[in-house]
């Protein structure tokens, strides 16, 4: 027992139960699902995880701020639509493969703009972010339908979808981009002034205000970051599809929030980190992939995912009992 508490790895796992869980399901699927434990499948998991994962990085920032963003799925769809459609604009018709560049840039800008709108409204009106972004979730989806006229767009240029199959060394390019984003956001959160202020704003908003942190613009920047990351996720998803569909990204906000909470970020703000979030998205990615490989019937996948979500939450509560000092409240 003493060993149990002294081993630093075990102690770390107690504090980050999600990584313990990732380890368990990893071993489980390695042993019981054919084709799971292979380099290529593991890369697949990372690529599949990257869609939700990129948004989850931004959601971690926003949630540590004490906010939430429910509109990311719609933002993702809007960015994807722009990324695919702008390529075919007449203005860029002579650019060859370079026509992809302005399209992607515009898509990312649109994502940032959507985030800025959410952030600005939260800042100026003081309405709860849950409500603001619940509205935006409907509204931005409406914009997607207005823009696409209910149709799917597809990229004429196969160079666009080829991008998603490219590899850098042994790594798929999408996995590399996701990896870079993870490192960048982790660095932002743990090393920069903005990142540290993110904890301050979420942990004690009044203290942050009194300390002269401009809380409004600060939150707006984080909303712009999540808008950017959702748009990036949308662009990368659209390269995998060579197309954009108006219904893209429905429900993603729910899975993103789930992953982030599994990773230990508190919905009330002030607490959380990228390492945990990475664990959260990997847990969901591995579960989905492993269950596909094991051919778990689709109906049961819903039940299993839902139950595991609640179970992990329960274990987290057991391990990280909040300091209520044993009071029976």
């Amino acid at each position: 027992m003493a060993y149990f508490y002294q081993n630093p790895l075990l102690r770390w796992l107690m504090r980050n139960p999600i990584w313990g869980f990732v380890l368990i399901i990893f071993i489980f699927f390695s042993l019981s699902a054919d084709h799971f434990f292979s380099e290529r499948n593991l890369m697949n998991i990372v690529v599949q995880t990257s869609t939700i994962g990129l948004i989850a990085l931004g959601m971690t920032l926003v949630m540590i701020n004490g906010n939430i963003d429910l509109s990311v799925g719609a933002t993702l769809a809007l960015a994807a639509a722009f990324a695919v459609d702008v390529q075919s604009w007449a203005a860029f018709s002579t650019w060859g493969n370079w026509q992809i560049l302005p399209a992607v840039c515009l898509a990312l800008l649109v994502g940032i703009l959507m985030g800025a709108i959410n952030g600005f409204i939260v800042w100026k009106t003081g309405v709860d972010a849950f409500i603001v972004t619940l509205g935006a979730m409907l509204g931005i989806r409406g914009l997607v339908f207005v823009y696409t006229g209910e149709q799917s767009f597809y990229a004429m240029n196969f160079a666009y979808s080829d991008f998603s199959f490219m590899t850098i060394g042994p790594f798929p390019v999408l996995a590399v981009i996701f990896g870079i984003a993870v490192l960048a956001v982790h660095w932002l959160l743990s090393r920069t002034v903005h990142g540290r202020n993110t904890y301050a704003v979420g942990g004690n908003r009044e203290a942050a205000v009194n300390a002269g942190i401009r809380v409004g613009p600060h939150m707006m920047i984080n909303f712009m970051l999540i808008g950017f990351l959702a748009a990036l996720s949308g662009v990368l998803l659209s390269t995998q599809m060579g197309a954009a569909t108006p219904n893209l990204g429905r429900d993603y906000e729910l899975w993103v929030i789930t992953a982030v909470v599994l990773g230990g970020t508190k919905l009330t703000g002030g607490k959380g980190d990228i390492i945990g979030t990475l664990g959260g998205v990997l847990a969901i990615g591995i579960l989905r992939n492993g269950m596909n490989l094991m051919q778990v019937p689709a109906f049961y996948v819903y039940v299993i995912l839902g139950s595991i979500l609640i179970a992990v939450l329960f274990l987290d509560k057991r391990f990280n009992r909040t300091a209520d000092g044993g009071l029976r409240l």
């Binding site: 409204i121 800042w123 100026k124 009106t125 003081g126 309405v127 709860d128 849950f130 409500i131 603001v132 619940l134 509205g135 935006a136 979730m137 409907l138 509204g139 931005i140 989806r141 409406g142 914009l143 339908f145 207005v146 209910e150 908003r205 205000v209 401009r214 809380v215 409004g216 729910l254 929030i257 789930t258 909470v261 919905l267 689709a298 109906f299 049961y300 996948v301 819903y302 039940v303 299993i304 995912l305 839902g306 139950s307 595991i308 979500l309 609640i310 939450l313 329960f314 509560k317 409240l329």
Partner: protein, 324 residues
């Protein structure tokens, strides 16, 4: 004096933001479409909003108690599939109580996890949303269910019938709203829900059984879902497995529009009814005006934010948030 009254939460403008928005909306729409305010149309909108409305009543109570319930969407699918499927197998007089009991069991699971184990309600009900959807599919094997004899069953009364010239769903919705309004404003249970939502710790220190109160709110929410399922099943006389897909967010939008605070402790059943009707009238009005269906999403975006903003602004006594 005004400020004091505003702060005291008395009957001041603070509470009327949604009502003002509602009236403005009704006037604008009625100017743009002459059919909008016809008795037929109003009846039709009320009838359509009954299902979401009944669910929103339950969710309002959960939210006043300081929690969320996102599982109501798939719970509605569950309850509707169950009652429709059992209708032809064991008859409506048994199908209804069996379904209600089964749905209450789901509510009890929510209540146990959130009320007794104190797990976060957002995540628990998200998990339940997924798990219950799976349960429905496993139960039905993915098949649609139908009531074969649609005209000969008294089950038709809940969705298709009328009393005193008013459609039954409307009577059920408004009647239930009245009952819950009375419970929440004039009965001890309502007071306790407000206290638990407003300050759970202080409630415990006042001897209020917090766990039991939260548990009860989820049972009530499940009961509302069961009633909504009876209306829905009777109206459609059949059900798909995902019939409640996305309802949880529409319901939540209506509750928020009614000014119920997500922080818990304050909110009103009657204003939720307004929120429900407002969303239904927006949807109906835009279609009457020949707008494509997705414009309603854009309008809802603006309406939700403006309505809640007015509410918040009235409570703090200034339009813009003071944070820099």
């Amino acid at each position: 004096m005004l400020l004091a009254r505003l702060k005291a939460g008395g009957p001041a403008i603070a509470k009327q933001g949604i009502l003002v928005a509602f009236i403005v909306f009704m006037i604008t729409f009625s100017l743009m479409s002459d059919r909008f305010l016809s008795a037929d149309n109003i009846m039709s909108v009320f009838r359509q909003s009954a299902i979401i409305g009944v669910m929103a009543l339950g969710v309002t109570i959960v939210v006043i108690g300081g929690n969320l319930d996102l599982s109501v969407g798939s719970m509605l699918s569950f309850a509707t599939v169950l009652v429709v499927d059992l209708h032809d197998k064991i008859g409506p007089e048994l199908a209804i109580p069996v379904m209600v009991l089964a749905t209450l069991c789901l509510g009890a699971i929510n209540g146990f996890l959130i009320g007794i184990l104190r797990l976060n309600s957002l995540i628990v009900t998200l998990g339940m949303l997924s798990a219950i959807q799976g349960l429905v599919l496993i139960y039905s094997g993915g098949q649609n269910v139908d009531i074969v004899d649609q005209t000969g069953t008294w089950f038709a009364i809940f969705g298709r019938g009328a009393m005193f010239g008013i459609a039954t769903p409307i009577i059920i919705f408004l009647g239930l709203a009245l009952v819950f309004h009375v419970i929440m404003t004039t009965m001890p249970f309502g007071r306790r829900v407000h206290a638990v939502g407003g300050n759970p710790t202080a409630s415990i220190f006042s001897g209020i059984p917090r766990s039991r109160v939260v548990f009860m709110t989820y049972l009530i929410s499940a009961l509302c879902v069961a009633i909504a399922a009876i209306i829905l099943g009777s109206r459609v006389m059949g059900s798909q497995n995902n019939v409640g897909l996305g309802y949880e967010l529409q319901v939540l939008a209506a509750v928020i529009l009614g000014g119920t605070s997500l922080l818990g402790g304050s909110g009103s059943i009657l204003r939720t009814v307004l929120g429900v009707l407002m969303l239904a009238f927006i949807q109906n009005g835009l279609i009457l005006m020949g707008q494509p269906y997705y414009t309603q999403w854009l309008v809802t975006w603006v309406v939700i934010i403006v309505a809640v903003w007015l509410d918040v602004a009235a409570k703090r006594g200034r339009l813009f948030s003071p944070i820099a």
